[in-house]
Amino acid sequence: MFAQQMANGLVLGSTYALFALGFTLMFGVLKVLNLTYGFYFTAGALVALAGVRDLGLSLWLALPLGMLAAGVLAVVIDTLLLTPLRRARAPELASLMVTLGAVLLLYSLLSMALGTEIRRFPVGTVPSGAVMLGTVRLGAAQGLIIATTAVMLAGLWLLMSRTRLGLALRAVAENEDAARLMAIDVPRTVMLASLLSGVLAGAAGVLIGLNQNAIQPYMGEFMMLRGFAVIIIGGLGDVRGAVAAGLLLGVAEVMAAGYIDSMVKDGVAFTLMVLVLWLKPAGLLGRARVSRA
Amino acid sequence: MSALLRVSHLSKHFHGLTAVAGVSFSVRAGTVHGLIGPNGAGKTTLFNLISGLVPLDGGEIVFDGRDIARRPVHARAGLGIARTFQNIRMFEDMSVLETVAAGAHPGLSAPLWHCLLGLPRYRAEERAVAAAALDLLTFVGLAERARERAGDLAYGEQRRLEIARGLAARPRLLLLDEPAAGMNPHETADLARLLRRVRACGVTLLLVEHDMGFVMEICERLTVLNFGRRIADGTPAEVRADPAVIEAYLGTRAAARLSRPRQPRP
């Protein structure tokens, strides 16, 4: 039973880790808390759903389609809203506020257009088989989630550490002006960072939609709380921390639901977050840069 | 003359880079003391350590007989330390007068509820602040600009405003980070005159500066840093002739070639 819960927790945790990863990437490179991020998550899920339901695509195509849609949306929003503010060297609060407004606008439009009822992926989107690993039953959907997350994490790690783009991303995250002086194309790098984080959000959206078998316009907003908790627990701006914290939170939530009460599940994220804020604000791995003047 | 500020074995590291390594020096009350050294020598970091913007990794800072190393930033102003910044930090939208009045913050004590009820003690305090601020503006030559927006002032005027803001709390020690930066010789001479008048009012000055003519002219003592370490300490004449200093600024071969100290500018 315990092992099963652990497995379920890791599956859930991988989706959180993926979500938090894109968010951390965006925060680290673009230096802004972008609240529309949750919306990319929803967009990815909805596009993938449309792909499967309306276009009859298989999941193997719908998933990348959803990811791409989310990525493009991220770039569009960054270009329209955040780049002008960055160019005008507006205070940090301004970027935060404009994304607040944008997310309210987008969610309202979306729920007006689509209504708020829950949609699901059609039966058969994922094969219904399962494997038994010892006492643990791993459904095909769950396996898919873990595998996809692992692949994306590995891919991202390779990108960040072995490619020039990764180097550019890290440089811009460290010091934008210095990066510019080193002939790094900062606007292009920023755009690619947006694209990447949107893609990660979209992937997380599809996978969570599969795992929980529920897709609705406000799902991104629900995830944002988890996302925030994960990045604070993992340390703001710390990529490895985000992954670790995501997995931890997934496991903690499943355990809490299983051993205490399912109602408690939603409070776990916030409780852990407050605990970390009080006890170890630099995050679990202690690597975030936290203090002000 | 006693040591108003004594810094002992001060060190600071940033992720493996040592910015300040075991620096010690004293600033005597009532003097103008200069902190010089090539770029990257750790001078601004030292200022940040003294004003509390950056926590120290080792050593002691004793101001007016008190160990202030663990005091928070805002408490140091109350103890009598003020500072200006290399890149002027203005309160852009506030008026010139309000800026100086803001600088007087540590000295004001009428509690909040006095303010809300409009009690006489509060009102008297506000009047006194406004009058004192205007006096300071006259002292630095900005009285006609009192009502203007701080962000609209010219660079040199903002410098003087920053100094006035620092003086508003009646500090005993004023730290000046490159006050002459970006100034032409005329402005620099004006600044030197102003700083002498500040010192004549009993304020001790510790300044970081690259303009050697300016430094030699107004400083009575100099401490020289290089790569985070103190390499010389003494009067301008002593420091000018110190081979270690010459080597730090000009390199080994030039040091060997130099035999005469430079003459100060007229």
């Binding site: 808390l33 503010l85 940090e92 609060l93 935060l96 506020m97 404009v98 607040l100 944008a102 309210l104 606008l105 309202s108 007006m112 944002m224 709380l225 925030f228 990045i231 604070i232 703001l236 994220a269 916030f270 407050v274 804020l277 936290v290 203090s291 002000r292 003047a293 | 004003s51 913007l53 930033v73 805002h74 140091r76 102003a77 109350g78 003020a82 500072r83 203005m90 309160f91 852009e92 939208d93 506030m94 007068l97 309000e98 009045a101 803001a102 540590p106 909040l112 303010c115 809300l116 509060y122 506000e126 009047r127 602040v129 406004a130 601020a133 009192a146 009502r147 620092g166 508003a168 709390a169």
Partner: protein
């Protein structure tokens, strides 16, 4: 009072109450923005005040004044809980923690029996009167103006303009940040209780993210140079959907759009004037 005025006030009672309550909420946002912080907990604090006040009125016989006081106190305590640890952290942490608070409280309201669950609480006694709201709003506004013109106001503007310089001239940033947060929570809680006792019904979804952003939009539209700005913003954004009925359903879209447009094109807001901070300049 002339009959026509009585009729007018009666017909538009709900709107007038809303205007006053939103004015208080706008001030609660202003107080936090005035020290350069972004707290998105106004809706959460409002909800705490609403539920506290409603529960007290429904289950105890406390006079309204005490109920209101308690409704201001409880959110302030919650603010202390998330405010204290985030004091020395960068501003982003507070923003996140306050959004999180709102979400968690919503879950609590839905699940705890005493709060009526997802259906909310009804039958709250109608104890709010227009003059109470007006008096509290006027007092809060007066307080903000008086403080704004004082050394506290100068300190707050200094903090907002340049934190480092403000710290160096002796301003105790953490104290001001915490103080502002507590005051803002108390004001929002007060507004929540007043609102609960006016509409006589509250539900868990009224104090969620969308409400928090709406409150922010009051302050952004109005501009934050003076406490009058956010109040003006609140008046405009509350009255418009009422006066233009079709706009009502588009409120979310409208508010969001306002924020985006104002931040991008009108950064000082509609009311760009700035309060003087030194009483009468000599």
């Amino acid at each position: 009072m002339p009959l026509w005025l009585e009729d007018f006030l009666w017909t538009y009672q709900t709107l007038i109450h809303s205007l006053g309550i939103n004015g208080l909420l706008a001030l609660s946002m202003y107080v936090v923005l005035a020290v350069g912080q972004l707290s998105l907990g106004q809706a959460a604090f409002m909800g705490l005040g609403a539920y506290t006040g409603a529960l007290l009125s429904l289950h105890t016989g406390l006079p309204f004044a005490l109920v209101l006081a308690a409704s201001a106190l409880v959110p302030a305590l919650a603010a202390l809980l998330i405010g204290l640890p985030t004091l020395r952290l960068t501003g982003v942490y507070l923003a996140i923690a306050t959004i999180g608070l709102g979400e968690v409280l919503r879950v609590v309201y839905v699940n705890a029996g005493i709060t009526g669950g997802a259906l909310g609480l009804g039958g709250i006694p109608d104890r709010t009167e227009g003059w109470i709201i007006l008096a509290l709003l006027a007092a809060a506004l007066a307080g903000c103006v008086l403080i704004g013109r004082s050394r506290f106001g100068r300190a707050m503007e200094a903090m907002r303009s340049d934190q480092t310089a403000a710290a160096v001239i002796g301003i105790n940033l953490p104290a001001y940040h915490l103080g502002a947060l507590l005051v803002s929570a108390a004001l929002a809680g007060l507004a929540g209780a007043l609102s609960a006792h006016s509409s006589t019904f509250i539900g868990p979804n009224e104090y969620a993210f969308e409400t928090a952003v709406t409150i922010l939009s009051f302050a952004i539209l109005g501009g934050t140079g003076s406490p009058l700005g956010p109040v003006a913003g609140a008046l405009v954004l509350t009255a418009l959907p009422e006066l233009l009925r079709p706009l009502h359903d588009f409120r979310g879209v409208f508010n969001g759009l306002i924020i985006v447009l104002v931040v991008l094109f009108l950064p000082r807001g509609l009311v760009p004037w700035r309060m003087p901070r030194l009483g009468k300049t000599p």
